[in-house]
Amino acid sequence: MGVERSKDMDQRTAGLNFAIFFCQQIDGKQDTNRRALEKELGSRIRFFPLPCSGRIEPLHLLRALESGADKVYIVTCAEGACRYREGNTRAKKRLTFAQGLIQEIGLELERLELIHLAPGTKTTIDELARGLIAREALIGPSPLAR
């Protein structure tokens, strides 16, 4: 992921880099739906579709931060709605583990965040990602980006 920060970026996003891991069950057309946003933000956003959020490993999250992401999301389907029963529960445990590790090196645990969709949510990945990016105006760039 590129860490170069463009000066004319959307104010909402404050020039931050995002990595978004997500369960592809939440948007059947995620492949198409995310293209416009990827084009718009270029290297500042990276999507990582997973067959199930339970596939996430702490190492994926750390590597995303190490590669320049200021904020890393793992988006899962609603609690209790996992197609594979407990994938999103596992995702939460793995995120917690990774948060523990980054805290040990003095990074804010908020740089890794899990988003459980509300039950019954119908959304597309680009709509979801725009919402997540817009709410991140308060988080600063990662100290790793200096």
Binding site: L62, R63, E66, L101, E104, I105, G106, L107, L144
Partner: protein, 222 residues
Amino acid sequence: MITAERKPLSEIKEMIAPYRKILIAGCGSCVAECAAGGEKEVGLIASALRMDAKKEGRDLKIKEITLDRQCVYEFIDQLTDLIDVYDAVLSLGCGAGVQAVAEVFPQAIILPALNTTFIGETKEAGVWVENCRACGDCKLAYFAAVCPVTRCSKGLFNGPCGGSKDGKCEVDPDTPCAWQLIVERLDERGQLDHLKKVYPPADWSKQQGKGPRKIVREDQTT
């Protein structure tokens, strides 16, 4: 299986502080099974240490490698061409692995990233329990393959004590009473007569008091 847990990163950082080029060496055997020192864990520690160094503006070069076994020369030999290139090796092997690598490369700095804990089994995903003290005088045949030395909190050879309640140990209610397990399994096997015997105290001289133990199998030696 030998189990281990990662040391706090603060302790690891202190150990590696004098060095700029670190070889992080995992072990693909026991400590990989207990998710402490395998390839994934090598990647995690390496990533965390790289980020930490970057954050603090320190120069740190890391190479990752995972040996199939860190306690056997034939596998340790894979480090031969790398050992002189790095200032130190951060080993994610058990204590035996760390020492075996240091034995092969006595001039190299070998640092332990793990605290070796016990001999145990994988009880379920993510749960490891101690079940062998390596006492050197195995009596499992008499106790229906449940070790009273290790799994009874009081190490009773002639149990149970009076503190067993609902199949749990009074010392820790999360721990199954080893003697309850022994009696139930002996009953299932029709071997309750084993309980009529009085077992003498364990012979701890086979574990302690004679210094480090050694096994020699002449048919295996060169």
